[in-house]
């Protein structure tokens, strides 16, 4: 339980923390492999002045190499499978240039009459080398698939829109200069002119931009840092989903493991008593009692980091537009996950450990079950209820702290499910022409997949917690359960009572989860943001409560069928 809980929590945290650097790392590696330019100058204006302005940039003493000017043509592309998408066609030389040299990942470079597609774009289109695509009504064979660092990842290949305006979600294709020119002329398509520049100091792009502000013609200067930042846009929501998810998972881990540790408190107290009896110091006893939890937590952390390492490539690069290796989690990430694992272990086991330390040696050696606090009004209230609820309420009242943890666990899960439903309720604009969903919205799909994964993990932990809570309660209350059965409670009533003890906190927990979601939604999102319909939210809350009831039924049934005579005889000795 502790191992599972810490593994998922630390894996999620490690992935969340590593994302920030992962996108940059992949951009830097792609840039190195493709001789990426330091600055790309683009102008949506036309005429000699544009060419003159752009070539003038190449003459700047800070510029050590350049590629272009070349034309970027705005067109529409259709695949044989009828997927359609806006595309920017870069008119390049047949021989690779010194800078901005796209790296072929399959096939060959451009020839007249053929095209090379950017890898992220081709992957989403489902197009391979040898297929044919139609651009503005003319079919082109796909000669190759390549990556470049001169533009941002798919679907943000169009750095500027036609005329320097805003751009749509767009893919990238390369053609020969002549083919691109002919394409634009034949269909009177908008064209942008661009030049790629290599600077003496690649880090001085901002100073270069400041030094070259054109009133006319309008020229946009995009630095490599800007492109790297643009890349990270696709992961904009991933980091908070993972980091907040890891907090929620850590909370569930603490609630579940704390319940488990409390269930073992009697055993721990006896161990403490034995150690005290042979002269162990409080520090040594604390170390002995906590070591098991700390060891398991650190093992869970190691597993979590390994999982994060394996999952990062898919997570950090939802498009296929970048190449490279991410390496392992950084030092900061490892420190953060270690802290998380230790916090989970210590918070879970601290209370029973302290109780064991404070218990006098003789008492500890003969440790009877923890004396639950008396709650007369709850006892009186429960007397008015049917037998299963009477038993359920009295069992809940024995450990109200655990009921609060159980309610928190359910609230967290329902909150995550509600957030997931809200995300799925939002309309998605696809990357196809005019927002067609034929090409799915990668960022939204990525966010949804991530939130779905985090929610699934939360649900799994919450379900494990529900079983743990029930079983721990059944173990602790085994004498009372046996007494109730000896006095005439049926196994069915005891099963229902144990389940009811879980449902009593689960119902307010589920309601709290929905309210938390609605409250945060109201606070943090725009008024016109779509939200999940109320029946969905109520359905999620109800489903969670029912799932809790179903899951607790089995351990409750097992506990209710434990032999009464054996339990009572064991307690008597």
């Amino acid at each position: 339980m502790l191992l599972l809980a810490v593994t998922v929590a630390t894996a999620t945290l490690a992935m969340g923390l590593s994302l920030r650097g992962a996108s940059d790392a992949l951009y830097v590696q792609t840039r190195a492999a493709t001789a990426g330019p330091d600055v790309v100058a683009l102008s949506g204006d036309t005429g000699r002045a544009v060419t003159s302005a752009l070539t003038g940039l190449a003459d700047d003493p800070e510029v050590v190499a350049h590629h272009g000017p070349y034309q970027i043509v705005y067109a529409d592309l259709t695949t044989r499978g009828s997927a359609t998408s806006p595309v920017v066609v870069h008119g390049f030389d047949e021989r690779p240039a010194a800078i901005n040299r796209p790296l072929l990942t399959s096939g060959r470079w451009i020839r007249p009459g053929g095209t090379v597609l950017e890898r992220g774009f081709a992957t989403e289109l489902g197009v391979k080398v040898g297929d044919r695509v139609t651009i503005e009504g003319r079919a082109y064979p796909v000669l190759g698939i390549a990556v470049t660092a001169a533009t941002s990842i798919y679907p943000w290949a169009a750095q500027i829109g036609p005329g320097g305006g805003p751009s749509n979600y767009t893919g990238l294709a390369w053609m020969t200069r002549a083919d691109a020119r002919e394409l634009a002329a034949a269909h009177d398509l908008p064209v942008t002119t661009a030049i790629d520049l290599k600077l003496k100091d690649p880090g001085a792009t901002e100073a270069f931009r400041e030094a070259h502000r054109f009133p006319a013609p309008r020229v946009n200067l995009h630095s490599w840092q800007f492109n790297a930042e643009q890349d990270a846009r696709i992961l904009r929501n991933s980091e908070p989903i993972l980091i907040v998810g890891s907090w929620l998972l850590a909370f569930l881990a603490i609630t579940g493991v704390a319940a488990l540790a409390t269930g073992r408190a009697l055993e721990q107290t006896r161990r403490a008593g034995l150690l005290k009896a042979v002269g162990a110091t409080p520090a040594l006893i604390a170390t002995v009692l906590l070591t098991e939890y700390l060891t398991l937590a650190l093992a869970g952390e190691a597993l979590g980091l390994a999982i994060a390492r394996l999952a990062m490539p898919a997570l950090a690069s939802p498009t296929a537009s970048r190449i490279g290796d991410l390496g392992g989690p950084g030092t900061g990430t490892v420190i953060a996950t270690t802290v998380l694992a230790l916090v989970v272990a210590v918070l879970s086991a601290l209370r029973p450990t302290l109780r064991a330390l404070r218990t006098a040696t003789v008492t500890a050696l003969s440790a009877a079950a923890h004396q639950p606090r008396r709650r007369p009004w709850l006892t009186a209230l429960s007397a008015l209820l049917p037998t299963p609820l009477l038993l359920g309420l009295r069992l809940t009242a024995r450990h109200p702290g655990r009921a609060v943890l159980q309610a928190g666990s359910i609230a967290t899960t329902v909150f995550a499910i509600a957030t997931l439903l809200a995300l799925f309720a939002e309309p998605v604009r696809g990357y196809g022409l005019n927002g067609s969903p034929a090409l799915p919205n990668l960022r939204d799909a990525h966010d949804r997949r991530l939130l779905l994964a985090v929610t699934a993990l939360l649900i799994v932990l919450a379900l494990v917690n529900a079983i743990t809570f029930t079983w721990t309660m059944a173990i602790e209350a085994r004498t009372n359960v046996a007494i109730a059965r000896a006095l005439g409670a049926t196994p069915g009533q005891v099963t229902a009572g144990l389940s009811a003890a879980q449902l009593l906190p689960a119902v307010p927990g589920a309601a709290l989860g929905v309210l938390l979601h609605l409250g945060l939604r109201w606070l943090l999102t725009a008024g016109n943001a779509a939200d999940a319909p109320v029946p969905w939210l109520l359905g999620a809350a109800l489903a969670t409560v029912l799932a809790t009831a179903a899951l607790t039924a089995l351990p409750a049934r097992l506990a209710a069928r434990r032999p009464v005579a054996r339990t009572l005889s064991a307690e008597a000795t």
Partner: protein
């Protein structure tokens, strides 16, 4: 057999624990009949099967073989649910370790079986009050078990066993955890119950308890080795034995 007036009847009762070579026969081919109003004491060394017999009579354990009848109804094949219902109405248990619910007061412990049997809270509370009065603990009705002495706890347990007016009270070493004075308190209550016609089966090591019974069965190795009717065991006789004032 079901037409007999006996509250408890047992035929060929066998209970085995364990498997294979480690199998132990705790109760071995036992026959028994306990008529209405009888106080039966079962004595024997530790591990002879006394407590197991009591558990079998109360439906807390199932026999390996044989028949158990309670109030004219065969119970050895009943479902756990039916056994639970039987215990609610027909059987009251008193345990050596008291087995009171620690977070409930004396009154709440006594009324618990009544609530489990579906009685109204008000009736259950009234009945608990009457029984606590009867066992001399009316003033301690609100006390928790941890605030009571051993003898007082056992008296609460006896009151609890009586709350649903059972046909038979099964007591397992009721004085086993008590000092002499506390044992006398408990014995006095059993004497009153016997005088009132309550059927009692008491497993005990305590000869004072056995001496007050109508009948004494000795057990060894799971078998009955002696079954003696104690002719002089009247309520008065027990009082004399214990030097009670009456």
């Amino acid at each position: 057999m079901s037409e007999s007036s006996a509250v408890i009847q047992v035929r060929g009762l066998v209970k085995e624990h364990g498997q294979g070579e480690s199998r132990v026969r705790a109760v071995d081919e036992v026959d028994l009949e306990v008529p209405q109003g009888e106080m039966l004491a079962v004595m024997g060394p530790s591990g002879c099967g006394k407590s197991t017999l009591l558990h079998l009579l109360g439906g807390l354990e199932r026999p390996t073989r044989g028949e158990v009848w309670v109030a004219g109804r065969r119970i050895d094949g009943l479902s756990e649910r039916a056994l639970a219902r039987l215990r609610r109405r027909s059987v009251g248990f008193v345990f050596q370790a008291f087995h009171l619910v620690e977070e409930l007061s004396a009154a709440e412990n006594v009324e618990l079986p009544a609530l489990l049997a579906g009685g109204s809270p008000r009736q259950a509370r009234r009945r608990a009050g009457v029984l606590l009065e009867r066992v001399g603990l009316a003033a301690r009705a609100r006390h928790l078990p941890s605030q009571l002495s051993g003898g007082q706890r056992q008296r609460v347990a006896i009151a609890r066993a009586l709350v649903n007016e059972p046909l038979v009270v099964l007591a397992d070493e009721p004085t086993g955890n008590l000092d002499s004075a506390a044992s006398l308190e408990v014995l006095r209550i059993f004497e009153e119950l016997r005088a009132a016609g309550q059927t009692l089966v008491i497993v005990t090591h305590d000869e004072r308890v056995a001496a007050g019974a109508d009948r004494l069965i000795s057990m060894r190795d799971g078998m009955f080795v002696d079954d003696t009717r104690l002719a002089g065991a009247t309520p008065r006789g027990l009082g004399d034995l214990l030097n009670l004032d009456g």
